[in-house]
C-alpha cells in the first residue's frame, strides 16, 4: 500500500514536470514555426506599384477617348466629302439648265433669221452639232469629275486605313507596356523604381513611333492637289475638242448662208 502510494506520487510529479515543460515549449515551438518565413519576408510594395493600376486605367481611358474622337473625325470626313460633292453637283446641274435655256433662245432667234428651207436645214444641223458637242463636253467633264472623286476618296480611305493600323499598333504597345509593368509589380512590388523606368521607356517609344508616323498625314493634301490638276487637264482637253467642233459647225453654217456673218 505504501509502495503504491509512493509510485502514484512519483507519477504525479513526473506528469507535472512534463506538463510544465510542454507549457513552456509549446509557445516557443509556435513562435519558431511562425518565425520560420522570416527568411522570405513579403517585400514592401513601392508607391509606384500601388498607384500603377489607377494610372494605367487613366492612360487607357484617355487613349480610348482620343481614339474614339479620331473615329468620329473619320466618319465626319467621309460625310463632308459627300456633302462637298453634292453641292458641286447641284450647282453644275443648275448652271447647265440655265445655259441650255439661254442657248435654246439663241437657236430660236438664229432659226428666225433663216429665210430659205436650206438655210433652216443648215441651222438645224448647226444646232444639232452644237448640242452634240456640248453633251460630249459635259460627259467628258463628268468622267473627269468622277475620276477625281474616286481618287480623292481612295487617298482618304488609304490614309484612314494606314492610321488605323498605326493606332492599333500604338494601343497594343501601350497596353503591352502597362501589362508588363503590372506583372513586374506583382512579381516584385519592391522594385517600383526599376519597373517605372522600364514603363516610361516603353511608353515613350510607343508614343514617339506613333507621332513620327503623323508626318506622312500631310501627303493626302498634295495628293488631292495633284488629282485636281489631272481633272483640270482633262477639262481643258475636252473644252479644246468642244471648241473645235463648235467652230467647224459655225463655218458650215456660214457657208450655207453664203456669208461670214451669221
Amino acid at each position: 500500500m505504501k509502495t503504491t502510494s509512493k509510485f502514484l506520487h512519483h507519477v504525479g510529479m513526473t506528469s507535472s514536470v512534463v506538463a510544465s515543460m510542454l507549457l513552456i515549449a509549446a509557445p516557443a515551438s509556435v513562435f519558431a514555426l511562425s518565425s520560420t518565413p522570416s527568411t522570405t519576408t513579403t517585400p514592401k510594395t513601392s508607391p509606384f506599384c500601388t498607384e500603377l493600376p489607377t494610372k494605367a486605367t487613366t492612360i487607357t481611358n484617355q487613349l480610348n477617348t482620343l481614339s474614339g474622337k479620331l473615329n468620329d473625325a473619320w466618319t465626319k470626313q467621309n460625310q463632308d466629302l459627300t456633302t462637298d460633292w453634292q453641292n458641286v453637283d447641284q450647282k453644275v446641274a443648275a448652271d447647265r439648265l440655265k445655259w441650255d435655256a439661254e442657248r435654246q433662245t439663241d437657236f430660236t432667234k438664229l432659226m428666225a433669221r433663216a429665210k430659205t428651207s436650206s438655210e433652216q436645214q443648215a441651222v438645224q444641223v448647226y444646232e444639232n452639232t452644237v448640242l452634240q458637242a456640248v453633251n460630249t463636253r459635259r460627259a467628258a467633264f463628268d468622267s473627269a469629275r468622277t475620276t477625281f472623286r474616286q481618287n480623292v476618296q481612295g487617298a482618304v480611305s488609304t490614309r484612314q486605313s494606314t492610321v488605323k493600323s498605326q493606332l492599333t499598333a500604338f494601343e497594343d504597345s501601350v497596353n503591352g507596356a502597362l501589362d508588363k509593368a503590372k506583372a513586374s509589380c506583382a512579381s516584385d512590388p519592391s522594385q517600383g523604381s526599376t519597373i517605372r523606368q522600364t514603363l516610361v521607356s516603353d511608353l515613350k517609344t510607343a508614343r514617339e513611333t506613333f507621332q513620327n508616323d503623323r508626318k506622312s498625314d500631310v501627303t493626302v493634301t498634295s495628293q488631292v492637289k495633284q488629282y485636281a490638276t489631272d481633272r483640270d487637264n482633262a477639262f481643258n482637253a475636252a473644252t479644246s475638242v468642244f471648241q473645235t467642233n463648235v467652230q467647224a459647225a459655225r463655218q458650215t453654217l456660214q457657208k450655207a448662208f453664203g456669208k461670214t456673218t451669221v
Binding site: 487613349l63 474622337k69 479620331l70 473625325a73 470626313q77 485636281a228 477639262f235
Partner: protein
Amino acid sequence: MGTVNKSEGGAGFAVVEAVLVLVIVAGVIGAGAYVYSTHHKKSTTDASLTSSSSTNQAVPLNGTTSSINQLTQQDAQVEGNVDKSADAQSQATAASANTAASNVGGAYNENNL
C-alpha cells in the same frame, strides 16, 4: 433821228446774225451726232456678227453664232470653275482628321508616371 434809225437797224441785223450763227452751230452739232451715232451702231453690229470666239469682246447680238459660241464657252468655263472652287474645301476635308490623329499621340505624358 437818222442816227437813231441807223442804230436800231444795226441792232436788228446783229440779232438776225446771231440767230443764224446759232442755227448753223446747232446744225453742225446735230449732223456730227448723227454721223457718230450711225457709225457707232454699225461698228457694234459688225463686231457682234463677225466676232471671233474670244469672250473678252462685247456681248454679241442674240441669235448669232457668235452669241452661241460665247454661251457654250461660258458654259464650259463656269462648270470648270465650280469644280475648282470646291478644291480648297476638298483638300481641307481630306486633311480634316489629321488633328484628331495627332491628338491621340498626346494621350499621356509618360514622365508623369
